[in-house]
Amino acid sequence: MDTLILVIIGLVAGPVIGGLVAGLDRRVTAWFQSRQGPPIMQSFYDVAKLLGKEKMVVNQWQILCAWVYLIAAAVSVGLFFAQGDLLVIFFVQAVGAVFLVMGAMSAKSPFSQVGAQRELMQILAYEPVLILVFVGIYLVTGSFSISAVWELEQPLLAKMPLLYLALGYALTIKLRKSPFDFSTSHHGHQELVKGVLTEYSGPYLALVEIAHWYETVLILGLCALFWSTNVFWMAALLLGTYALEILVDNTMARMTWRWMLKRVWLLGMGMSVVNLIWLYAG
């Protein structure tokens, strides 16, 4: 019963928190750029407006894929709140990621096609790192279940500092922030217009946006696990991490996928492996 209540809390709170984070993100970014920026609630206004627009699609696959993306993202957050298995949560999240890509590929538009291919490269980059992070958690707690993390007496961060850095790498890619935003360039009139999102519009773009909020919450939740013993430090860790994300986002130019793959597979995997060796030895 408790689990069910937690899941419902997660499903409701997910988009709210995710939307607020998106709003804050824009405010802080504006502050970096000496602008005033939109109100914090702006992301909600945007989505509400999108939901009210006329439905326009290239074909039915986009409708299907947008919905499945949202549902999978929500289910993965629900599983997270139900203290489920980290790998299962990750794979359910991957359902959404795959459908987003497939929906983009269903439209015969060069922009969304290229965006879809690049999104796959992003998945290729972050997936192994995330799996190794979960393996690290398993080695520390003896279980892939999140419930085991709460029983720790020492924060995970103490045992997995390098894996946390690697996770940060993976998260920047997952959140599609610069320098890894090449599958959905933030700004119009760039080499890729809107990449994987080009052909999603109106209410369906709103679904994709809400799904993205869920994903943001899932990612922040993963980070939160690294300081599970103290709520204040957990909050500090999250704030610090996200602030760093925003800083990186604003100071970096977009790179190429080749740069990303090589960087992440060498540096991200390298850090993960070194940290795992400590854990196996310890």
């Binding site: 006329e54 326009m56 699609v57 290239v58 074909n59 039915q60 696959w61 409708i63 299907l64 919905w67 499945v68 549902i71 999978a72 289910v75 629900g78 489920g84 298995d85 790998l87 299962v88 794979f91 359910v92 359902v95 795959v98 890509v101 497939m102 929906g103 983009a104 590929m105 269903s106 439209a107 015969k108 538009s109 060069p110 922009f111 290229v114 291919q117 796959l120 490269m121 998945i123 290729l124 980059a125 997936e127 192994p128 799996i131 190794l132 393996v135 398993y138 080695l139 003896g142 279980s143 892939f144 279940s145 217009v193 080009t198 052909e199 793959l261 597979w265 995997m269 795992l276 196996y280």
Partner: protein, 630 residues
């Protein structure tokens, strides 16, 4: 029980003979259909039987063990003849060596003692189901497929009798292989599958088909030789041919474990592990039902089965770690090679080898969790992969190409085939389906070994890429009122059955685990509650996930089905769209066509560059593995 076993093994052989000698196509169709139905029924009936070892006394007054020995040498003779015919010294050498060692083994080493020829346990039960049901469906699919296939070839005399002879014989041999308890019988059936696959790969008799079949034959003869050596080493220590006795004894010293190592090597060749992957890739020149049969339910599963069967005999040894690392390496290497491919059949082939590597890795990890993962992967991979092969075969006959770039937008013309293919791809790749569940278990079991888990993590990501882009490019717009797609009943039946099977059996997986897998272990890895598999290390909520994602997907399908009421627009092209799809109005007011393709990452994952490197690494790992047994 004995009658069922004979039915499962001998009926396909008899039916094969009927197909060969009666040249009427109606009789052939009926024979194949009836055999499929009876095999399915018999394999299901076997589920409800008491399982005890079965001794085969004599057949027509000849002691059955002697009969098998004679057939062994006859078989080696036939293979040697083909070696001579195709001037392959490798085949001749391996076969002669096998015959010499086998003669020494049977005449001098083995003290004749009655050993139960057959035994049924959980693993062989599941294998029998896979072989009998999926194998039969593939044979049924082959009936209309081969008719059309031969129409393209303009043969004077149909070669279908020979084709179905070997297809059906194959099923019998596989059932025999997985049910054997006498290691010499196992070896006999192992060799029969080698011969059948050689004949089927070379069926079309084109230059390339013959070349590839010869390569398959020499690689598998090497496997056969390795099997004989392994058998002799094991026997010299344990002194029995009884597999269940060998397994019950566990690892017994360096000599015996080395013997088991050679048996595993034989399994590697048959399962086309790197560096032996080239024979399976070559096998795709054969008609599609052959590829489906070789890849999903029979040939390669025989190799995996041997490695898995002998897992208790090397548990806790360095050999076991070696097997796990070799398997994980194949999983990663073939997933990487697969990224660079655009040939649909080649993608399936690499993905098969990759998955077999994962299964072998699980056998090497050798914990109850890993063995469970291996068996579930065998089952679900067989269903999804055979489905995908049959889909590619259907698509190939429809569009005349097996290149996935040519399948772009397949939904527009062949909505039914495209949808089934997409579902097949999703069942290979995503939760809550069985293959992913097996992969999940493999990852959790592999987390204990740093080498294994790193390779599994990287391989898993690569797998995601090559499936997702294939699934995506099949989707496309379809004009309102376009003509419906027609599918022959015998094409449709196997496709729909396999498609449904992949989904429904995934949903039933907790109960499959509980009734068929859990009894294998003293300490089963999972407890079942509310349709989820729970363990201290993690849990997979199969039924809740099916409910959440399934209902969600149904809602999404319903939302999508009303799309004709929504405004349909052309995609954005940075300019005004021209009338036809795929062009826009460019400079000089003329239409400019464009096209988009997948990224195959040629500079990173080029097959030609990577294969020699992977082969060398794999040889090193295999040497390491065999050395680990000492």
């Amino acid at each position: 029980m004995s009658n069922l076993l004979f039915l499962l093994i001998l009926l396909p052989a008899v039916a094969a003979a009927v197909c060969y000698f009666v040249r009427s196509s109606a009789v052939r169709t009926l024979t194949v259909l009836a055999t499929g139905a009876i095999l399915t029924a018999a394999s299901l009936a076997l589920l409800g039987q008491e399982t005890q070892p079965l001794t085969v006394g004599s057949v027509l007054g000849i002691p059955s063990d002697f009969l098998i020995a004679v057939l062994d040498f006859a078989l080696l003779g036939v293979i040697f003849m083909y070696g001579v015919k195709h001037k392959s010294l490798l085949i001749q050498g391996f076969t002669l060596a096998q015959a010499a060692l086998l003669a020494w083994f049977e005449l001098i080493m083995v003290k004749s003692a009655e050993v139960p020829a057959f035994a049924v346990d959980q693993i062989s039960l599941i294998m029998v189901l896979v072989v009998s049901i999926i194998g039969s469906l593939i044979c049924i699919f082959a009936i209309p497929y081969m008719k059309e296939h031969e129409e393209h070839l303009h043969l004077k005399k149909s070669r279908q009798p020979q084709f179905f002879f070997f297809m059906l014989l194959f099923l019998g041999a596989m059932n025999g292989l997985v049910l054997s308890n006498n290691i010499l019988w196992l070896y006999f059936f192992f060799e029969v599958t080698t011969l059948c696959s050689f004949m089927l790969i070379g069926h079309d008799r084109t230059e390339i088909a013959i070349k590839n079949s010869v390569r398959a034959l020499w690689m598998n003869s090497l496997g056969g030789l390795s099997f004989v050596i392994g058998m002799m080493l094991v026997y010299s220590k344990v002194g029995t041919l009884d597999i269940s006795a060998i397994l019950a004894g566990g690892p017994q010293g360096a000599l015996m474990v080395t013997g088991v190592g050679f048996l595993c090597l034989a399994g590697f060749t048959k399962a086309a592990q790197v560096p032996f992957q080239s024979w399976l890739l070559g096998a795709m020149v054969a008609p599609t039902p052959v590829s489906a049969l070789l890849h999903s339910s029979t040939m390669v599963k025989a190799g995996v089965y041997v490695v898995l069967r002998f897992a208790p005999a090397y548990s806790g040894t360095l050999l076991s770690d070696g097997v796990a690392v070799c398997g994980a390496f194949t999983f990663l290497a073939c997933a990487a090679l697969c990224i660079g491919q655009s040939n649909g059949k080649k993608i399936l082939a690499y993905s098969t080898v990759s998955n077999l590597g994962l299964i072998i890795c699980c056998a090497g990890l050798n914990t109850p969790l890993a063995i469970t993962a291996a068996v579930l992967l065998i089952l679900f991979h067989a269903i999804s992969k055979s489905l995908l092969f049959l889909c590619v075969g259907t698509i190939e006959q429809a569009i005349g190409s097996r290149d996935i770039e040519d399948m772009r937008g397949l939904y527009a013309k062949f909505p039914r085939t495209a949808t089934i293919t997409i579902i097949g791809i999703l069942t290979m790749l995503l939760p809550p389906f069985g293959v992913l569940m097996g992969k999940w278990m493999a990852l959790e079991a592999g987390a204990a070994n740093i080498y294994v888990i790193i390779m599994l993590a990287m391989g898993s990501a690569l797998t995601m890429v090559y499936w997702a882009r294939w699934g995506g490019l099949l989707m496309a717009s379809r004009e309102a009122g376009a003509a419906r797609e027609k599918q022959a009943a015998l094409i449709s039946l196997p496709l729909m059955t396999l498609c449904l099977g992949a989904v429904v059996l995934s949903l039933a997986s907790p109960w499959i685990y509980n009734s068929m897998l859990a009894p294998m272990f003293n300490a089963p890895p999972f407890a079942l509650s509310f349709g989820s598999l729970n363990a201290a290390t993690g849990s997979f909520a199969v039924v809740p996930l099916f409910l959440a994602l399934g209902l969600g997907a149904l809602y999404a399908v319903k939302a999508a089905s009303g799309f004709r009421k929504v405004k349909i627009v052309a995609p954005y092209l940075s300019g005004s769209n021209a009338g036809e799809e795929g062009t826009y109005i460019g400079p000089m007011n003329g239409p400019v066509p464009f096209s988009a393709g997948n990224m195959y990452l040629g500079e990173l994952f080029a097959e030609g560059k990577l294969t020699p490197v992977f082969n060398a690494l794999a040889v090193a790992l295999i040497v390491l593995m065999l050395g680990g047994a000492l």
